[in-house]
């Protein structure tokens, strides 16, 4: 138990350091882009007909604390970020935490459900494919996998939209029906969300399924040829019971570990798919923040949040693996 506690603590510390590095990278990038928040805000004001002088920009800089040294600003930002406070958006002048709020959780929920979908298909199918010698099944799965890899999600989304518009006359876009968009959360709104969310979940899950299927199959066919499986067979075990009790348990451990990377991949696809399907969650907010208003504060916050959820997931899967496999929790303490 003590050992496990030390392992968990160690992992938590590593996750924390990773996040620190990430925050540094993100913050520096946001600093490197030309122009700062004060200029952005005031240039926006100028388009509204207010005369702006250099002195105004300077005083705005002082007000926002942009005149302090880089490290000080970074540390304030990081301390705030870990408490969920990202300051105000450059242009909208709203607290970013309020602005993102539910949108971020919806994005995360969509991403996680697409991963869930991917693995609930990939694990059983991959195991069956690895254990069967059916050439037709194996080859068609291979082609499906390659298609999943070669067809980026946004092309798939476009194709689905094309087919839907041509044959069904519906565009299948958006995340809420009009009447629920600004309503408070309720059961009806949730059901409405589900009605719209299946499509992005399916599209994002598509290539994740292809990836996962390949990994499960490869790992499983490595394990299945090993001696302990033959030994179990010799003892009279067969079929699903054999597969689940012996090779699958070994083959699936690396898969649990790869969840974080899959989440990363889904987050990569999310903004573009969101744009095509005109979803209104964090991904499309990111595009808004970038393409339309150059809002570096908001963009930095979103990227930090996305990365933080990946790091958290990595941490959780590490802990989960350690619970399942004592060898892992010993490995770190060599």
């Amino acid at each position: 138990m003590l050992q496990f506690g030390r392992f968990a603590l160690m992992r938590a510390a590593m996750a924390f350091i990773t996040l620190l590095i990430v925050s540094f990278v993100v913050f520096s990038l946001m600093e490197l882009v030309p122009g700062d928040c004060a200029e952005r805000y005031l240039s926006y004001k100028q388009t509204q007909g207010v005369a702006i002088s250099i002195a105004d920009i300077e005083s705005e800089r002082v007000r926002l604390g942009l005149d302090r040294p880089f490290i000080t600003r970074w540390s304030t930002w990081v301390v705030g970020a870990f408490q969920g406070d990202f300051g105000d958006s450059c242009i909208l002048r709203v607290n970013i935490a309020d602005l993102l709020g539910a949108k971020f959780w919806i994005s995360l929920a969509i991403a996680m459900s697409s991963l869930l979908l991917a693995y609930s298909i990939a694990v059983p199918v991959g195991i069956i494919a690895a254990s069967s010698r059916n050439a037709v099944l194996n080859n068609s799965l291979r082609i499906f996998s390659y298609l999943g890899l070669a067809m980026p999600n946004f092309l798939l989304a476009l194709m689905i939209m094309l087919v839907a518009t041509v044959y069904f006359g519906e565009t299948l876009t958006g995340l809420f029906s009009a009447e629920y968009r600004d309503a408070d959360w309720s059961w009806a709104k949730f059901v409405d969300l589900l009605k719209h969310a299946w499509l992005p979940i399916f599209i994002l899950g598509w290539s994740a399924t292809a990836f996962a299927l390949q990994t499960v199959r490869a790992l499983m066919s490595d394990e299945i040829g090993k001696l302990y499986v033959t030994a179990a067979k010799a003892r009279g075990l067969y079929g699903a019971k054999l597969l689940w009790r012996y090779p699958a348990r070994h083959a699936l451990a690396p898969i649990v570990n790869s969840l974080g990377f899959d989440l990363n991949r889904v987050f990569n696809e999310l903004p573009i798919v969101a744009l095509i399907l005109t979803l209104s969650e964090a991904g499309s907010l990111l595009i808004d923040a970038l393409a339309k208003s150059n809002d570096q504060q908001l963009a930095g916050a979103i990227i930090f949040l996305l990365t933080a959820s990946i790091v958290t997931l990595n941490f959780l899967t590490d802990i989960l693996l350690a619970i399942m496999d004592p060898r892992i929790r010993k490995s770190i303490l060599r």
């Binding site: 298609l147 946004f154 990227i303």
Partner: protein, 380 residues
């Protein structure tokens, strides 16, 4: 067994044992049917891309537009129609009408009595083949200048989609190559330092690499690309995007370089070379680098399609390349409009080429990976 076959067997063995690594990889690669087919497709697409200006009948930019055929449907060359057959392929003339009945949209009506014959090696707009040889001969086109042929139709400005597709393939190949090269150099430096020196420096570099790898690349790239000034020329944008792609690609590659170096560094042959008095640069150049170049090439091929796809995605949302440059993403920018989805589905034809290109790269990469792995035979 006769002496002759014994001798040829001996020779086979000799060639096998003295074969260089690239020869071995090629021998194993040849055995994989899918990868060989994919390699054929890949070479074909690359040749198309390089020869794009000569193969495409028109200039892909606004200079080559067809004023009279905006949003025009694909024209498929025919050999026969109601007026009989001809040995030379031809297309029918088109008449455009617009009225209240068609909602004031231009509607094309093929006129089967007019034939435009397709000619080969016609003279058209001038271009520089491979960027240096000035030419004005195109593979095919229509005789005379007043009518144009559009195999894949035209877009809303009247630009020929077939010509644009071919040029877009070339753009994708260029940007992929540049991106891969940049990430390769970065990976070689960072991974090389990390792997060769090892120890504490290695741990720190690995930690940073891992942290950078957890940041979702596309949102990050989007945020950087969004701040590229709009007044930049298309060439500047092009290099910017290539550099960005290179910057995302390096962590994975750097890790592989480091792993190879770490394992190879402690091999006996390196020790032997050291004992013979070889200097570090000599060992790196003559022993370490050749030991894993094949793996690195495989990694480069595998990472290529992701570069292409990232560029496509970025251009698609308007943060990548911009109009005078042709790329798949640029071509797809306007297709989400209901008008296009309902009426002009030929905008999607280029997608097929790109799926083929990416698939070919994935298959070839997989085949190369299997071929470069000396144990792949025993696995099966």
């Amino acid at each position: 067994m006769s002496a002759k076959t014994m001798k040829s067997l001996q020779q086979d063995k000799e060639t096998y044992f003295t074969a260089s690594q690239s020869q071995l990889i090629w021998a194993r690669f040849k055995k994989q049917r899918a990868a060989m087919i994919a390699a054929g497709v890949l070479v074909f697409i690359i040749v198309i891309g390089i020869l794009a200006p000569a193969l495409s009948p028109y200039d892909p930019t606004i200079a080559g537009r067809d004023r009279d055929y905006l949003n025009g449907a694909p024209q498929i060359p025919q050999f026969c129609d109601k007026n009989g057959c001809s040995l030379r392929p031809f297309i029918h003339g088109v008449e455009r009408t617009r009225s209240a009945e068609t909602n004031f949209r231009w509607v094309e009506e093929p006129n089967e009595d007019i034939r435009h014959y397709i000619a080969f090696f016609v003279e058209g707009s001038e271009f520089d083949l491979f960027g240096v040889i000035p030419m004005d001969t195109h593979l095919f086109g229509l005789q005379g200048d007043e009518k144009m042929i559009h195999l894949f139709g035209t877009d809303s400005a009247g630009k020929d989609i077939f010509s644009r597709t071919l040029h877009a393939i070339f753009t994708s190949l260029q940007i992929g190559t540049l991106g891969v090269l940049i990430s390769f150099v970065l990976a070689l430096i960072i991974g090389g330092v990390s792997g060769y020196y090892g120890g504490r420096l290695d741990s720190v570099i690995q930690m940073v690499t891992d942290a950078v790898r957890t940041i979702p690349a596309i949102p990050l790239v989007m945020s950087v690309a969004a701040f590229v000034p709009t007044e930049w020329t298309s060439e500047q944008r092009f290099f910017m995007i290539a550099i960005i792609l290179g910057l995302i690609g390096w962590p994975t590659l750097a890790r592989r370089v480091r792993t190879h170096l770490l394992t190879e560094r402690n091999q006996e042959y390196v020790l032997a070379a050291q004992l013979c008095g070889a200097s570090s640069p000599h060992i790196i150049r003559r022993h370490l680098l050749p030991s894993f170049t094949s793996y690195i090439i495989v990694d480069l091929v595998i990472s290529f399609p992701y570069m292409v796809l990232t560029e496509t995605g970025l251009s698609f949302i308007g943060l990548g390349l911009k109009d005078p440059v042709n790329s798949l993403g640029v071509m797809l920018q306007n297709v989400t409009k209901a008008d296009v989805l309902l009426n002009y589905q030929w905008y999607f034809i280029p997608v097929l080429f790109f799926v083929a290109l990416v698939m070919a790269f994935v298959f070839v990469g997989d085949g190369l990976r299997d071929a470069a792995d000396p144990y792949s035979d025993s696995k099966k």
